[in-house]
């Protein structure tokens, strides 16, 4: 790959569960094409996919920005959803506030945020109730 930084921007639609995951899929394809190591591609794809699903389930959609450099991939997921009342609880494996309708679709197992943390090198959550949440994740190359 070249040394040029690459910037990608995506809009995640609200309530469109069927379309969720398109941004992550696109990022995965691009990272593969530019020759990123498979393990890096995998980590970014999974972390971003969980984030994208969360945005659809909990936050009326949102915006995702991805910056790719030879050193790291940085993902910023911004939403104007309800915010996370208790981040520590939300980070516990198995803790979920998703409704049964979401569980019946195979998500809402309480693994979203823990998975995002597991697959990334850094993860920061800024959240304000009634205002929204911004999650910044990086994966080192």
């Amino acid at each position: 790959m070249t040394n040029d930084a690459l910037h990608l921007h995506y809009t995640v639609e609200r309530d469109n569960f069927t379309a969720a995951g398109e941004a992550s899929s696109n990022v995965k394809r691009i990272l593969k094409q530019i020759g990123m190591p498979p393990e890096v591609v995998r980590k970014v794809a999974i972390a971003m996919y969980e984030g994208e699903i969360n945005m659809v389930i909990h936050a009326n959609g949102g915006e995702i920005d991805v910056d790719v450099s030879p050193q790291e991939i940085r993902m910023v997921l911004r939403d104007v959803g309800p915010g996370i009342p208790d981040v520590n609880k939300a980070m516990q494996e198995g803790y979920s506030t998703a409704p049964d309708s979401i569980r019946s679709l195979g998500f809402g197992a309480g693994m979203g945020l823990p998975n995002m943390k597991k697959y990334t090198d850094t993860m920061e959550i800024e959240t304000t109730l009634g205002v929204g949440t911004t999650i910044t994740m990086t994966v080192r190359v």
Binding site: A20, I46, Y49, L105, G106, F107, M111, K118
Partner: protein, 117 residues
């Protein structure tokens, strides 16, 4: 194990055309919860599930899963099959239940993601 063997053991039908005869698989997982599937970091080649929606294909794609096996005679619609073909994921369909399908494949030598082969 070859993917063609999996289809034989499960009496499964392939919904994405011919099964490529050279495809080898070593690991599998079975679950209806995609978040749990995503939580296991180890490579899995086959995903067995009774959940039928587009996110199953997308989950498989994110994890580089080669083949999805829909159990309990669950039939995906044409859109799901088209998505799987676009993503290069092979789709099988069997009348076996999830537990039985996993057991049959385990007995034949396929392993979960927890054990190294």
């Amino acid at each position: 194990m070859k993917l063609t063997q999996i289809a034989e053991i499960l009496h499964a039908q392939c919904l994405t055309g011919e099964i490529p005869s050279q495809v080898e698989v070593r690991t599998a997982c079975g679950s209806d919860m995609m978040s749990d599937v995503l939580a296991a970091t180890q490579q899995k080649d086959v995903l067995l599930t009774g959940l039928v929606n587009p996110q199953v294909v997308k989950t498989a794609d994110m994890l580089d899963v080669r083949c999805i096996v829909f159990v309990r005679n669950k039939r995906p619609d044409a859109d799901l099959i088209a998505l799987a073909q676009e993503r290069g994921v092979i789709v099988l369909c069997t009348s076996e239940k999830l537990f039985e399908a996993c057991g049959l494949l385990y007995a034949a030598g396929l392993r979960g993601t927890g054990a190294a082969i």
